[in-house]
Symmetry: C2
Amino acid sequence: MENKVTINDIARLTGLSKGTVDRVLHKRGEVSKKSYEKVMKVIEELGYKPNVFASLLAGGKGCQIAVVLPSGEKGSYWELAESGIAKVGADVEALGVRTQLFTYDQYKPESFHQTCTEVLEAAPDGVVLAPLFKEETSQFVLDLEEKGIPYVFVDSRLESEHYLAYFGMPMYQSGYLCADQLTGGFAIGSVLIVRVRRDKDQQADPTKNRRAGFIDYMLEHSPECSVSNIFIDPNDPEGTYNALDSYFKAHPETRHIVMFNSRIHLLVPWLADHPVKGRRVVGFDNLPENIAALRRGVVTSLIGQRPDVQVSRAIEALAEAIVLGQLPPQKDAFMHMDILTRYNVDYY
Amino acid sequence: MENKVTINDIARLTGLSKGTVDRVLHKRGEVSKKSYEKVMKVIEELGYKPNVFASLLAGGKGCQIAVVLPSGEKGSYWELAESGIAKVGADVEALGVRTQLFTYDQYKPESFHQTCTEVLEAAPDGVVLAPLFKEETSQFVLDLEEKGIPYVFVDSRLESEHYLAYFGMPMYQSGYLCADQLTGGFAIGSVLIVRVRRDKDQQADPTKNRRAGFIDYMLEHSPECSVSNIFIDPNDPEGTYNALDSYFKAHPETRHIVMFNSRIHLLVPWLADHPVKGRRVVGFDNLPENIAALRRGVVTSLIGQRPDVQVSRAIEALAEAIVLGQLPPQKDAFMHMDILTRYNVDYY
DNA sequence: AAAATTTCCGTGCACGGTAACGGAAAATCA
DNA sequence: TGATTTTCCGTTACCGTGCACGGAAATTTT
């Protein structure tokens, strides 16, 4: 059933041998132009697709996929992404696909560059890439294209036309959704945005678009609602605590709190000490610590994009493209924005 | 890489031929007890796993999976489930898995029984089953076990110990979650539950547990909030409209509305005619009509379990078990309860 | 004890594709 | 023109399993 057309059929119809047919299939030369075209024509007509099993059986090599991510500390967003590698379906593994993880320091462009050269040396059959640095990524992508190595973006992407697929979250919309969750659709008092202070010469703020979506929602639905910002240092718990304390001393009328990165858990100590009935606290990403906060009831809801799923789907898409020659149905796959509350988080 | 152990290795180590080894592997007799045990021992020791590619190549058959669902009218829940069949990964198909759909009338046990015999005649290698009738399902499952055909439940399940896996939604918790969505965590006025009238001798109400979860939440979080019920006939739009009309004439203070089955869209005509600021309307399942209502803003949120994903995951699990001999990591996979609002529905 | 069964097992081909090997034909060189 | 190199292609031996066929050995029948 399926594709009855075999390499032998083509050999017979072209009057050549399967050895020659195999040579044109794999473009390993030593074929006259005339024969080459004859074979290609018949392949086209019959819609020949090679039998994956036979190919794997004979060749045995399978394929190697490199996954390039920022190195994830324990409990971080990127560790979650990393765990997606282990979640690819058994059927993909059965197809002879192997994955190899390469990490880089998300704060050091030169570390990323270093990792890229390592990847190129490893010469994988495909690359899954979470890009953070524009310049360096453009260069890397050029190198990959030159070598004919297909690549898939996760989390964010470049404007490049040549990537095979992209799995990520629509940032602007996630901010919009977040605002809806925070306000519950009702008009409310003022809102506090807690942000992480970052050096200006560092990379651009990845949550910029998200914040924009949030602001737009508020302007449309609750124009009377005031929005304030404070900045904290993620490595200074005490400072964070004090920042919140002094802000709320000055603005006791502010009720709801939101953060646009995955660090909402940093607020837990202060929140736990200052419970307010009706306060809504919304953050992003299902990190273990965030989920714990959700369960405690300190955080109202989280908006999750499941980076692990992004990675595993990316690997699967890449594998299907390489091994089966099937392009992904859609190039840009914006993934679910999951709304997590304490009542459904157990099932994610 | 992987399993270097082949059938030839075993043949050599046992001093037998691969023909004999193959015979014990497939239990097709004609092997002396002594040889049988010798082979089994070596297989055990070396942890032999057959090469899927070679097997598929030689045998060619692949495997046949029967999917048994209630017949889904256009736009219905079960049609959504049906669509999951088309969504199994290309890699699973590449493994030589073919699926065949069998449907039955969800209101007629005898129709289910009829379908079951058809399935048994087709003698598939595995069965995905959405069971509605307890008695008949128990019998069917016994037949399957007798024939050694593995089966996976979706949507709901029997207490049977022998199913391979189950993909479904935790009903009680979904009701709990629903109540949280409806109230938004705030204390609110009274709530209306719209239910579908059904004959008592018909099957039991599949949403009973869900309702129980809802009620429990309300008792715990908003004991002062009154909950009323009305009943409608899904096939009588006019009657539905009038029922809502007369209820709300008598109880204008009731604001929020909930339905526990997938038919919240039946209320759209009335809701569209009677917009109330701050009213929350929550229903279940991402049917096209429900999603349309969500987009219009008539329905506040939906709780979705994506029956299509349940079906495709079930097929994949079954395929992996049959073809690769890999049991699913967890027997009971309670699937996500997705909270859908107009702001994230586009990404589901 | 010879013949007829039955039980058990080895051999060999097929599945579709890969790739090394070697040789014929064509092109280039002397 | 003969020798040499290049270009091109057919042959062949696998890869690991499935399975049909036929035959040796063990068992039962005459």
